[in-house]
């Protein structure tokens, strides 16, 4: 072989097997042997299902009866591992929950990875393992996926996109425009856990106690509460922007007012303390394993009981009502007896100086 021989770098792949690389190299996204090894040794064992194992360009799935729900979300959380979970858990739970909020039974997910050159394979393996476990627990299959690698400095270790498909039973009509005057607002547990868990481990913040993320798949809870009350009007998972943002959106979309009792709102003591310290309001802090349900008063107690029976809903509480007054506005009765309006924030909530 002469040194003047033309080398086609687009076809180039490093001949070494996966196990000899401790971290991601550009070749892992090249579609060649390294990519294949990543799929074979890492993704397939973690996600294990027959559709994925067929290794076709697309997954071929049986057509379910009923309407389809389809949703996608991208996950860029830092740090990638945090108390109570990881980006892998979020990537499964987030999309499963989005599907569940329209009353769908989630069935299949896709998983797209954007990895940064140099990202440790051990970390990727841990993330993928958590995804596989989360999917099995939620009863969904990860049936297709993709991996791309970007140059060092062009990513933040690992980004994940998941999309999901679910099926909605014929008698279910849930949507953000369906809140009606007199409806009861129920939240499935303590608010603000995930956001404060992330803040507590970010650079420069050291709390004395560990706040754990609430990341969880909610499809099980939704299934059991729909058994009691198939005519739930609205379901929402209050993720970014927290409960305040979700309820504001519902008030706007349904053109109703929502009035909550602040003292009924479940908040963990540690989360409340951290929020006091940083000048933040737990109502605006993200959740990843909570839902808010808006239901007819006749079924409110049954829905509450169904939530509380579920492990992710033990602290569920009725927090307020839908009203004809102050349409489009979320308001809260303060423990003191005053009323305050809880507006949409312009951007993310920032710690206050005073």
């Amino acid at each position: 072989m002469s040194v003047t021989m033309k080398v086609d770098f687009s076809q180039w792949s490093c001949p070494l097997p996966l196990r000899d690389y401790p971290s991601i190299v550009m070749g892992h996204g090249g579609g060649g042997q390294l990519s294949a090894e990543l799929i074979e040794h890492l993704f397939v064992p973690a996600f294990r299902n027959t559709t994925l194992e067929s290794m076709a360009d697309s997954s071929v799935l049986p057509r379910p009866s009923g309407r389809l729900a389809f949703s996608t979300d991208s996950y860029v959380v830092q740090p990638l591992f945090f108390p109570g979970g990881s980006i892998g858990d979020l990537a499964v739970h987030g999309t499963v929950n989005d599907l569940s909020m329209s009353g769908a039974t989630p069935l299949y997910l896709s998983a797209g990875f954007i990895l940064e050159e140099g990202f440790p394979l051990s970390q990727l393996a841990a993330i993928v393992d958590r995804m596989g476990r989360a999917a099995r627990e939620a009863g969904v299959q990860i049936v297709t996926g993709d991996t791309k690698v970007v140059e060092k400095g062009h990513g933040d270790g690992c980004y994940i996109n998941t999309a999901g498909v679910g099926v909605i039973a014929d008698n279910i009509e849930i949507g953000p425009t369906r809140a009606a005057n007199g409806d009861v607002v129920i939240v499935s547990g303590t608010v603000g856990d995930h956001g404060m868990a992330i803040m507590s481990v970010r650079e420069g913040l050291e709390f004395e106690t560990i706040i754990e993320s609430d990341t969880a798949a909610l499809n099980g809870m939704v299934a059991s509460l729909l058994r009691f009350a198939p005519h739930v009007h609205v379901l929402r998972d209050p993720t970014r922007g927290g409960l305040a943002t979700s309820l504001n959106e519902i008030a706007g979309q349904s053109n109703v007012g929502i009035l909550i009792e602040e003292r009924s709102l479940p908040v963990l003591q540690d989360v409340q303390s951290a929020c006091e310290l940083l000048g933040m309001d737990p109502m605006y802090v993200a959740n990843e394993g909570k839902l808010v349900a808006i239901v007819d008063p006749s079924v409110a107690e049954a829905v509450l009981a169904a939530m509380r029976e579920h492990p992710h809903g033990r602290n569920a509480a009725i927090i307020g009502r839908v009203t004809e007054q102050h349409k489009g506005i979320l308001a809260a009765k303060t423990p003191i007896g005053g009323t305050r309006i809880i507006p949409l924030q312009i951007g993310e909530q920032l710690p206050r100086i005073c």
Binding site: D281, T334, L350, I353
Partner: protein, 368 residues
């Protein structure tokens, strides 16, 4: 939560509010100086409990709001310099300068970091010896000791890559400026408890003497605020203005003397512009000559940056309770929470932002 729940008791709060209502023979205009107090009043709906007896005028005590445009432009210029790590409290990132905010320069590639203490910025400086680390040191007397400590430690440790962009403001000169305004409606002040925990309250006697207004040192929890207001109303009704401490669990007459000694060493008094109000003589602190090497304004030669406040904005009058936000010609047109022209639209607790967020729905009264 211990030490908080005791001061948020609804029953006691309503009883205090009743006492205030019974004591007041007319409606009194009381200014709470501090933004933290404004936040608590709005958040808990205290102003509603006091309707008819007390009108709360929200003072200029939000350091984010009153930081002058010019200084924010300087911060943006420094943050945009190559190699700089610019550290700030979170809520300064959204405050617009003449053209954009820190979020925007961050998006354009600047290394802007949110920290929770100036000492965190010092740590970043130690970890990045080849980078210039700048901390945006703003705030009232409350945040000043921590900032002074950071600069002091930087000097002690011989850190060459740390500096601070300082825009400290002081409460007593602001009270004086408000009282000197010919159209002033304020009849009494709630002094900021946290400021007084550092500075004590000896500074307020000359002000009460000169302007004959009650000044009551007040805390931040609902019961603290209601107790401060109750004592103020008693003074107003009796016509015997004096300095009174209603926040005894945190504040003493002398204040925190070691902190004051450090402040006197690190800072010196200077004239300061307040966004929405204008220049107030001797109303701020800058780094003293001994610490000039740590002054980011000198290190980055941004001294020549000048900025003009919007000619439309009348937030100064709003801050003094002389103008309702929606009476300002810019309100809701050129000036919105997304594109604020003045102090009172910047912060969510600012009077203009509150009016904009709630008032545009008109139906606000129906929730009371």
């Amino acid at each position: 939560m211990k030490y908080l729940d005791e001061f948020r008791d609804g029953e006691l709060a309503r009883s205090l509010a009743r006492q205030i209502q019974q004591t007041a023979t007319r409606s009194w205009a009381i200014m709470e100086v501090c933004g933290g107090q404004t936040h608590s009043i709005v958040r808990n709906g205290l102003d509603q409990l006091l309707e008819g007896a007390v009108e709360m005028i929200h003072g200029p005590g939000c350091p984010v709001c009153v930081t002058p445009l010019e200084l924010i432009d300087k911060a943006l210029a420094i943050a945009s310099e190559p190699g700089v790590i610019f550290c700030s409290f979170g809520d300064m990132l959204r405050v617009p300068g003449s053209h954009f905010d820190l979020f925007r320069v961050k998006a354009d590639g600047a290394d802007v970091r949110v920290v929770y203490s100036p000492l965190d910025a010092l740590t970043i400086a130690r970890q990045n010896p080849d980078r210039e680390v700048v901390f945006f040191g703003i705030g009232f007397e409350t945040t000043a000791p921590a900032n002074a400590m950071a600069v002091h430690q930087a000097k002690q440790q011989g850190l060459k890559n740390f500096s601070m962009l300082v825009s400290h403001v002081l409460v007593p000169p602001a009270i004086e400026a408000i009282m000197n305004s010919p159209s002033c409606r304020v009849q009494a002040f709630l002094a900021a408890g946290h400021v007084c925990s550092v500075m004590g309250y000896w500074q307020y006697y000359p002000l009460v003497e000169r302007y004959r207004v009650p000044i009551v040192i007040t805390g931040f929890e609902p019961l603290d605020l209601l107790e401060g207001i109750r004592r103020t109303v008693i003074q107003l009704e009796a016509g015997t203005p004096q300095v009174e401490n209603a926040y005894e669990r945190a504040v003493c007459f002398e204040g925190n003397q070691p902190a004051q000694a450090l402040l006197a060493q690190v800072f010196e008094v200077t004239d300061r512009s307040w966004r929405g109000i204008g220049m107030i003589p001797r109303s701020g602190w800058k780094l003293s000559d001994a610490y000039r090497d740590f002054d980011a304004e000198y290190r980055f030669s941004v001294g020549n940056i000048r900025a003009e406040e919007s000619p439309i904005c009348r937030s100064g009058e709003v801050l003094q309770g002389n103008l309702k936000p929606n009476e300002c010609p810019g309100f809701g047109k050129e000036c919105t929470p997304r594109h604020p022209l003045g102090a009172t639209m910047v912060s969510s607790e600012g009077a203009c932002a509150a009016y904009y967020n709630y008032g545009r729905f008109v139906a606000v009264d129906s929730i009371r």
